[in-house]
Symmetry: D2
Subunit: 106 residues, 4 copies
């Protein structure tokens, strides 16, 4: 289990920035509620296509969340690797981003 | 709020088949747990890329669920529209599937 | 090699409608030109990211073309299957659309 | 029109590596042939779904090409930015990759 602390001996970057973290937490709570709502729809025998439409909406919300986290990641963790001049860390950051590209690209 | 009952005056098709419904409910419960797990990761300042990877996994699980529901939909609701010979219902079913294609296709 | 003629004993539906066919042909010609343009970019050592951006643009153009063809398919071939009341043909059309959904959905 | 030369005053990295460039050129030629084949299918009134399937195949081939180019880009251009220690260039490379992620991710 990796933790940002290992990258921040001085506690300079401790995970996401506070405001981003709060916004993520809020979004995830909303998404959890949406998933519960879909379970209710299934239980109430709601029309399949309406269920599918709701699932798509949750997928889109997760995609937007991913993008927000990646943007924050680049603005902080990746920027930290650049500012530090640590080439090994820079290569690691690039490899991680490429893994995300490959997956998104499918 | 549409409900399959409106399509099934004789109660022949009441929502998803029982076994599909149980499997969907179970999957949704697991997905809800995964979303809560991601919220915990954010709270514990876990590494951004690990959070993003988990979000992708949930999106993939939702995609598979959508597909299962669509398959069941075709095997039941769409098949019902075909068997009934009701052309208006058949056209409606096709339009709904096309809306799903358009969205998935982006 | 399937050919729409097999579905249209009276020549009523012979492939795409004339105007759709012309529009598809024109789009494909433009896409062929774009692909040649990308080959030229590679040959001229143009910047990788610019090449990737062009490839994405062609993929988007192909996606739009797919959607146009599917819409025409629904308005003609699928509508023909519904109007004819041929249940076997209707089931075939649905299975084909589902295969497209599955692929697009990935 | 950007050209890799502007990034390589000493001619160290001149576009893609020779073997990658040849492989890209070959793939693009094959893709151009596939696009022409699709135009022929449309012209011959081939069945819509078969045309759509072919278009999907070309989109997948383009996606694989994008990935190959990106991998080469990271191994060369991005690696060059890291090795040089040029922070401005590193930030630029990251921004470009993020633009690709955002587009692929949609």
């Amino acid at each position: 289990m990796r933790n940002v602390d290992t990258y921040t001996p001085y506690g300079y970057i401790a995970g996401m920035r506070k405001d981003i973290k709060a916004s993520c937490a809020q979004r995830l709570q909303r998404i959890e509620g949406q998933v519960r709502g879909i379970a209710r729809m299934v239980d109430e025998n709601r029309y399949c296509i309406d269920v599918v439409t709701q699932i798509s909406a949750v997928r889109a919300a997760l995609r937007r969340l991913e993008e927000q986290i990646l943007q924050d990641h680049v603005a902080h963790c990746v920027e930290h690797a650049i500012a530090s001049g640590n080439k090994a860390d820079q290569r690691k950051k690039i490899d991680e981003l490429m893994a995300v590209v490959r997956r998104a690209d499918r």
